[in-house]
């Protein structure tokens, strides 16, 4: 395992800038999650590190060594592809063996058998080992593709939305399992996802990408509690942060244009009246849709609330975030 550093990495595809001057340190043994919508540059970042694509400018260092000119094999990285990319002419077992049998690793047969048994167990695919890779369901393919990475001990694991096509139960299981494997083995892991629960529960660090730029890098708590911009603030938190004009509430700093309110930053029972437009009982929590001076707000309230549609409730902001007209945080 090793520390991975991106230094001023820029990558263009034709006229499109996929990554612009991205610098980032993935500390040894950390679990870094990259967040951002499609096209933000998450996958490109993984490809830069893996060596499948070369940066136009900048450098990638693994364990302090520049990777310029090194092939993916020489970098000794493992990658889980979003499209699974299982070898269709091989069985599940042969797919899992494939990296271990490479000229790079040349693993002895007993060790291959042992590792495959372990990984298949964890991923719950033991009963499918002798199936053709093409005869699996989407979720099974995805697990095999994770397994193909886990059988190795690379410098870094790169995972591109590895849990996206699993059902909710399996996803929750594997989330815990991946985190357990990572903290037990001290592996370095760079993980791309859309799913903020994955980011919050697994990450030691989160990197927020916006159109090829790294806008914030820090612990999930840090990004949740201290976002640098509206964009970063919107990446985490369920329900999403409310963004309304700063003038709606008093006490905004001079440069502030927008105010950001997470549910816990809205105190209920004090301040000014708002109208309850909808009550969503989700079981463990209840979401309140409020209309405050003709702006929509969503917050969370007591699971057993007596509030109904049409009621009024007093609200006031508590230590909110203020952003300027560009969306950057001012206070």
């Amino acid at each position: 395992m090793a520390e991975v550093v991106l230094k001023n990495v820029t990558k263009r595809f034709g006229a499109d800038v996929a990554l612009e001057n991205v610098s980032m340190t993935v500390p040894d043994g950390s679990f870094v999650v990259l967040l951002g919508p499609t096209g933000a540059g998450k996958t490109t970042t993984l490809r830069m590190i893996s060596g499948l694509d070369r940066p136009d400018a900048g450098d990638v260092l693994i364990g302090g060594q520049s990777m310029a000119g090194l092939t993916p094999a020489q970098r000794n990285v493992a990658m889980v592809f979003q499209q699974y990319s299982l070898y269709p002419h091989l069985t599940v077992r042969e797919n899992l063996e494939f990296p271990l049998k490479s000229p790079l690793l040349k693993t002895p047969a007993e060790e291959i058998a042992r590792k495959i048994r372990e990984v298949a167990e964890v991923l719950q695919i033991s009963h499918k080992l002798d199936n053709k890779a093409t005869a699996l369901s989407g979720g099974e393919m995805q697990r095999v593709s994770i397994g193909r990475a886990l059988v190795r001990t690379p410098t870094i694991y790169l995972m591109d939305e590895p849990l996206s096509s699993l059902d909710a139960k399996l996803r929750a299981d594997l989330r815990i399992e991946l985190k357990r494997i990572q903290s037990k083995s001290g592996a370095t892991l760079l993980y791309v996802t859309h799913d903020q629960i994955e980011a919050m529960t697994m990450a030691t660090h989160v990197g927020v990408l916006d159109r090829g730029k790294l806008v914030q890098f820090g612990s999930p708590r840090e990004i949740y509690e201290n976002p640098v911009s509206i964009y970063a603030a919107s990446r985490l938190g369920q329900p999403r942060i409310n963004i309304v004009p700063a003038s709606l509430f008093g006490g905004a700093p001079a440069k502030a244009d927008k105010i950001g309110l997470r549910p816990e930053q809205i105190v209920q029972g004090e301040g000014e009246d708002s109208l309850v437009t909808r009550v969503e009982h989700l079981g463990d929590q209840t979401r309140l849709h409020l209309n405050y001076k003709s702006h929509e707000l969503i917050t969370v309230t007591d699971a057993h609330t007596q509030l109904n549609e049409g009621d009024t409730v007093k609200i006031r902001p508590e230590k909110p975030f203020y952003f300027d007209a560009q969306g950057d945080r001012v206070a």
Partner: protein, 312 residues
């Protein structure tokens, strides 16, 4: 009653079946004619109206493999019981076997040249197709078009320049020369077909193999080749059929050592008159290797032809 717009009705299936069987019969007819003629006697082979039912004989097959001469009077008197069956057969017609014919030699020339040129066309074609499919080749589209353009005229159109070149290079009537020529002609087809098949294989598989610790060449060998096998096999069939059947250039460029079977078969002349059963027997045997090859790869051929045609 269920109704489907994609599933043909039983009546449509019947009509389609009749059409296919009818077409197959028509295309098979010349083949049946040749096979039947191979088992006819000389007299039956030229009988008019043609005989559908006849007494089969292997005379034609014996004749095609042997050279014969007329029996002398003394030999005609000899007892025949101890002679091998084929000699007995020949003696009944008043002939005797004096040696092997050149048919076997010509047949093996065809095997060497046909399979040899197919092998090289496939190896070179796969390498070129992979490069076109995966690398940034400058002027890629123009190059591909140029390669295809070599097939836009019949190969015989350039026969005279090729003849002159071959004469100067000492390639006339050599195996190497014919393998080179057929490889060159087949290469454009091989590049185009295999390029289509490799384009269909997502590049992600190779990327996965690169990550898994393999070099590009190993990834090609372990991941791309097995998946392209179907397309390569069907391309090989097309190449072999061309090289195996090629007649015009073979007539022009070979006459002895490297002569292939197609120019040789029509020159089989019996003792007294054209020996049609022998010609037919030679042609029948000549059909066998390409038929066996096609049947062995049939499953790939069918999948291959349709597989390459679908574009996303």
């Amino acid at each position: 009653m269920s109704f489907s717009v994609t599933e043909p009705s039983p009546r449509q299936k019947w009509i389609a079946g009749i059409l296919v069987v009818g077409y197959a019969l028509i295309t098979m007819l010349p083949l049946l004619w040749i096979v039947a003629t191979g088992f006819k006697s000389s007299a039956d082979s030229i009988a008019y109206p043609p005989k559908i039912l006849f007494e089969p004989t292997v005379e034609g097959y014996v004749n095609v493999f042997t050279t014969q001469t007329r029996l002398s009077n003394e030999m005609a008197q000899e007892p025949r019981e101890n002679l091998p069956w084929y000699e007995q057969l020949v003696r009944e017609k008043g002939n005797t076997i004096v040696g092997q014919s050149r048919y076997t030699e010509r047949f093996f020339n065809s095997v060497i040249i046909g399979f040899g040129s197919t092998f090289f066309a496939i190896v070179l074609g796969t390498a070129a197709a992979y490069a076109f499919s995966r690398f940034k080749v400058p002027l890629k589209d123009d190059l591909l078009f140029f390669i295809l353009s070599t097939r836009m005229m019949p190969p015989i159109a350039v026969a005279i320049p090729i003849f002159l070149m071959f004469r100067n290079l000492g390639l006339n009537d050599t195996h190497a020369g014919m393998i080179l020529l057929y490889t060159a002609i087949n290469l454009s087809l091989a590049v185009w077909l295999i390029n289509g098949f490799i384009d269909e294989i997502p590049i992600e598989y190779e990327e996965a193999a690169l990550i898994d610790g393999y070099t590009r060449f190993q990834a090609f060998y372990k991941v791309v080749l097995p998946q392209a096998a179907t397309g390569i096999a069907s391309t090989a069939i097309f190449c072999l059929i061309f090289a195996w059947n090629e007649y015009a250039l073979a007539v022009l460029l070979t006459s002895g050592t490297a002569q292939t079977a197609p120019p040789f078969i029509p020159t089989i002349i019996g003792v007294g008159g054209q020996d049609w059963p022998a010609v037919a027997a030679g042609a029948t045997i000549f059909l066998v290797p390409v038929m066996v090859f096609t049947i062995l790869l049939r499953k790939h051929l069918l999948r291959g032809i349709t597989f390459g045609a679908v574009r996303k």
